[in-house]
């Protein structure tokens, strides 16, 4: 039948893109690195590479969680606010209430998880669109973060806490960078090799098909919002260690950077297609671009313009390629 002939044009290449990660963003990243290596004297060095890793830890941890949400066809606008709430909960418990720091960190992660649980339940039980549910949570979590100290910052944590983000173990990785790499590796393993990962893709591909196939769509959906929120909270802890302070205005606009990293990495906003590998490349593109533009002394305002253009081009190229 000719139908079979015409319809059999799409083959293995697309599949790789679907499950393993796009090649387009990787090519873009390599070109970007080559360009910066030639146009600056400082870009191509181990020291600078490690700097870039330090600079992307917060974004990287958040983007891993966001990948899960976007793979199910959802979106989470609350991650920046949840990050701030986690920071304030931790800072307040440790420095005002006087709890031990590790316990405060744990409490902060639980608080973030609760934010995700509430968003997830609103989305599943009341059928509120994810955009709206997490927009509401964005406002709620930001408000709570401000209420804890009435908008004041809290400074000064134990030295060991700060050193997590500064001290390079064996001269290579800081604990926070290792944490980010661990989060990404675990996410990758889960999405690629666990039955639960397949469920995330199935729900994103078509919630109705997934439900009729016996997958608990509501459980999967709530889980990804909880995960994204806990990872946003974890990113907040990392940011606190980097700054040695917490303030309720932290993380403003981070949700957009996070979404951008995931989307640049080739994950489809309509769900069901994409990968953590792609997200890692997306994070690196944003990190390398920021770093390179600083090295080239480009003004921060122009940087915003350039990053916007890159987002638009990356997604346009991906859409074009998929056709």
């Amino acid at each position: 039948m000719p139908a079979a002939v015409t319809e059999r044009k799409r083959t293995g290449g697309d599949l790789l893109a679907l499950i393993g990660g796009g090649t387009g963003p990787l090519v873009g990243l390599i070109l970007l690195c080559v360009f910066l290596s030639f146009s600056t004297t400082t870009f191509l060095s181990v020291r600078n590479a490690l700097n870039i890793l330090d600079q992307i830890t917060v974004l990287g941890i958040m983007a891993a969680g966001m990948s899960f949400v976007i793979l199910t066809g959802g979106i989470d606008l609350s991650v920046g606010s949840v990050l701030a709430l986690a920071m304030m909960v931790m800072g307040w418990l440790a420095n005002v209430v006087g709890l031990p720091l590790p316990l405060s960190v744990l409490a902060a992660l639980v608080a973030s998880g609760l934010c995700g649980l509430v968003s997830g339940l609103f989305i599943t039980a009341f059928k509120v669109p994810p955009f709206i549910a997490t927009l509401a949570m964005m406002s709620i979590a930001r408000g709570l973060a401000n209420m804890i100290t009435d908008g004041q910052q809290i400074v000064g944590f134990p030295d060991w806490f700060m050193s997590l983000a500064i001290e390079r173990q064996f001269g290579v990785l800081t604990a926070t960078v290792a944490l980010m790499l661990g989060v990404i590796a675990l996410s990758w393993l889960f999405l690629r090799y666990r039955a639960g990962g397949r469920m995330v893709y199935a729900v994103g591909g078509s919630p109705e098909v997934a439900r009729l196939a016996g997958i608990d769509v509501r459980y999967v959906t709530v889980s990804v919002y909880v995960l994204a929120a806990v990872l946003a909270g974890l990113a907040g802890i990392v940011l606190a260690a980097r700054l040695d302070s917490v303030q309720p205005s932290s993380g403003l606009g981070y949700e957009l950077d996070t979404i951008a990293a995931v989307v640049i990495g080739g994950t489809s906003l309509s769900g069901g297609a994409g990968s953590i590998g792609g997200t890692l490349i997306g994070i690196l593109i944003i990190g390398v671009l920021r770093n390179g533009l600083n090295l080239l002394n480009v003004s921060p305002f122009l940087q915003q313009v350039i990053i916007g253009v890159v987002i638009a081009l990356a997604v346009a190229a991906e859409t074009f390629r998929r056709k």
């Binding site: 799409r10 499950i19 039955a195 469920m199 439900r211």
Partner: protein, 493 residues
């Protein structure tokens, strides 16, 4: 007969090296209904697209009302009076009927939409189709049949002299189909030329004057008399002789597997339905669109809630809260809408098969590409799916997609398999493959339920038939007492 209004000579179309239409001649006269038949991929859509201006021909000439005709765009074709009505309707639900009828070309006065004129003229078109609805009503909430007629009204408002109807009855029930036919006959009497594309031979026999058959992009046969035996027509479509359409149906066992008692849907779509299905039995469920067939089987598969009644499997009562509960009990469903409910079209075949078997594949929840592939390969081979494991489901034909949906369940060894419209949109040649699978299941002792709007199909493969009418159980017919008349009598109570 008079000169044709539309005349195609030697029309060809190729995409790169692939030739989808080869040297096709095709005429339509005023006041004539011509059936355009062919399997999926035979070139029907391409040909109708060329006529309606949505794609250019690569070769050949067309004449329309005596003038050379080469439409530059669908708009161009519409302006000249040739309108294609798509299978999937394109009405905007939030607009009124009148606004939809005149969409994009609303009558204007002083630069503003002239609502009074628009409503009056739309109402005239509705009257022409005997559609008793106010033109000021929103499209939202109209039945599928009414929407189909609004589409036709839209074409008439454009003063169409040639209508191409692409599977107009795919979503219609018996009574609605009758209403549509009445209008088609009326338009024919008014001198409109109609090209009628359908898979349903029964309809083609009734409504068309002439049959043109395409196969592999070529015009292979024409039957001047629509009373030509179905088998002759189908054989020319598939290019081989058909020994049989339906396999012989095995005799069911006596042990009851599934039983429903006084089952009533939570949304009121069906009430107090009771029947049982035995081991190896194929139970057909027939009825008009809206009779509650799909809702009934969805409830049995745990997809929709019930408000009353019980479901029993092997003598114990079930309490199904989700499809997962039903699947755990061995009740699986091949849903009505393949593309929205059956497969994730963008995902590979093997992944699709895995989605229903995530608890069975791999060790301790760990799955690799290799396990997925080897698990799926078995199913792909067993059901003769024409495709490779890693290919996206969207690249398969309807029949092969359906086989994937069936394949994903059978690895579980289900007790009850429910198939809702198993051959909808699947071409005649591929249907017998699906029937073979259904009968094969019954032969292995599975209790099978088949819902279908295609009467011939229900009659052909069922041991017994439950007929629903307006949500109530109108009767159960044994294979030997069921025929199209006895089923329709019950269905239209």
């Amino acid at each position: 007969m008079s000169e044709p209004i539309l005349s195609l000579r030697g029309i060809s179309k190729s995409y790169g090296p692939l030739q989808v239409l080869r040297d096709v001649d095709f005429d339509v006269h005023a006041g004539e209904v011509v059936a355009l038949l062919g399997e999926n991929g035979a070139g029907k859509s391409t040909l109708s697209g060329i006529i309606a201006g949505s794609r250019p021909a690569s070769g050949g000439t067309m004449t329309w009302l005596g003038q050379p005709y080469a439409p530059a765009s669908p708009r161009d074709a519409i302006d000249r009076g040739l309108v294609l009505i798509h299978q999937e309707m394109k009405l905007l639900p939030e607009l009124t009927i009148a606004e939809n009828v005149f969409i994009g070309r609303w009558p204007r006065r002083n630069g503003r939409v002239d609502r009074a004129t628009m409503v009056r003229r739309a109402q005239e078109q509705l009257a022409r189709l005997n559609l008793r609805l106010p033109a000021t009503r929103k499209v939202q909430g109209l039945s599928t049949a009414q929407q189909q007629l609004v589409e036709i009204a839209k074409a008439l408002a454009l003063d169409a002299k040639l209508l191409i109807l692409d599977e107009p009855t795919a979503a219609l029930g018996g009574a609605e189909t009758e209403a549509l036919f009445e209008q088609v006959r009326k338009l024919r009497a008014e001198g409109v030329g109609i090209v009628y594309i359908s898979h349903r031979m029964e309809e083609i026999r009734r409504i068309t004057d002439r049959i043109v058959v395409l196969r592999d992009g070529e015009r292979v046969a024409e039957f001047a008399d629509s009373a030509t035996p179905v088998r002759t027509v189908v054989e020319s479509m598939v290019g081989r002789s058909l020994d049989r359409m339906f396999p012989s149906v095995p005799r069911p066992g006596s042990r009851v597997v599934l039983e429903v008692r006084d089952l009533t849907g939570a949304n009121g779509a069906f009430e107090k339905v009771s029947f049982s299905v035995a081991e190896g039995e194929i139970l057909g469920i027939a009825g008009l669109v809206g009779a509650g067939r799909t809702e009934l089987v969805r409830a049995i598969a745990g997809a929709d809630p019930v408000s009353d009644g019980t479901i029993w499997l092997d003598g114990h009562e079930l309490n199904l809260k989700s499809p997962a509960d039903a699947i755990a009990e061995g009740i699986v469903m091949v849903p009505e809408d393949r593309k929205l409910q059956g497969v994730v079209v963008d995902h590979p075949i093997d992944e699709n098969i895995i989605y229903a078997n995530l608890d069975k594949v791999g060790r301790g929840g760990w799955i690799t590409r290799a396990t997925v592939r080897s698990f799926a390969d078995g199913a792909i081979k067993r059901f003769g799916v024409k495709g490779r494991a890693g290919q996206p489901a969207s690249s398969l034909s309807g029949g092969n997609q359906q086989k994937v949906v069936i394949a994903k369940w059978l690895a579980r060894g289900p007790r009850v398999v429910i198939l809702d419209e198993p051959t909808r949109g699947i071409d005649v040649g591929a249907r017998s493959g699906i029937y073979d699978i259904i009968v094969g299941l019954a032969a292995q002792g599975v209790a099978v339920i088949v819902v279908s709007s295609d009467l011939e199909e229900v009659l052909g493969i069922s041991n017994r038939i439950v007929v629903l009418a307006q949500g109530r159980q109108a009767g159960i017919l044994d294979r030997d007492e069921a025929n199209d008349v006895s089923v329709m009598e019950l269905a239209t109570i």
